[in-house]
Amino acid sequence: MLFPQLFNQNVHHPFHALEDFHRQFNQLFNEWAVDSQRDDLPPVNIWKTSDGLALTAELPGVHADDIELSVHQNQLTLSGKRKPLNLSETDKLYRQERDYGDFERKFELPLKVDVTKIEAKFADGILRVELPQAEEDKPKKISIQPK
């Protein structure tokens, strides 16, 4: 048979080679992206404080009004939106590395938080959230009565 021979996979095909290259390249890129800081914006630090927990998040160029924080049971959700570049029709974009659009991250809190006492401040593109531990969740001192 002539045809199967022709379409044998071992036959060198320049376009397939190119496709393979692209696939490998994308794979390489994706693998890198999974572990990169970019993958889940915004990057955060989580702290244990004397009063409970605190979270700091990088949100450069985001307006305070566009940031939303919510706590449901033990899950803290940080979401919001970064407005896109305001380009006019005659402007030409050269390079875009900054991310725009909606973001959302969820965090499981290892302790019970007093929702009424959560405080958030935003300055220099950094969000600081204080999450005080709920009174009923705090360790209790038990006094021992002398006999």
Partner: protein, 130 residues
């Protein structure tokens, strides 16, 4: 240090307070009718820690970012944000009027407006009808 960011595993305070980490800030750039605009993400940087230098046509941005701290006695449990130095340079086209470069720093974003020299702007030529 880098493993702390790239693997996103819990890392201790010791490794996060290392000060030599070099960070490349995310940047957007575009051309307007008047010149160029560069936007640089520099979260956690205060104005005092930001340094912009122009050496002939090389524009260098250097900024120091301290670890965003929280009030009181605290211990880092999980870390993706590190302390370090932001560094990025841009080669400016000869058409930029360096005398009129403007910098604005707001909300952790540096915006540089680089107007072009008047003579490089396209001129409108009026065609008179005879």
């Amino acid at each position: 240090m880098s493993t702390c960011v790239s693997t996103k595993k819990n890392c201790d305070v010791q490794s996060s307070t290392e000060s030599k980490t070099q960070l490349s800030p995310y940047t957007d750039s575009y051309k307007t009718q008047e010149g160029f605009v560069i936007k640089v993400d520099l979260p956690g940087v205060s104005k005092e820690n930001l340094d912009i230098q122009l050496d002939s046509s090389l524009l260098k941005i250097e900024a120091y970012r301290n670890l965003p701290k929280v009030e009181g006695d605290s211990k880092l449990l999980y870390s993706e944000i590190v302390e370090g130095k932001y560094l990025r340079s841009f080669k400016l086209p000869d058409t930029v009027d360096v005398e009129r470069i403007q910098a604005k720093f707001e909300n952790g974003v540096l915006e540089l407006v680089l107007p072009e020299k008047a003579e490089t702007q396209p001129k409108k030529i009026k065609v008179e009808l005879t």
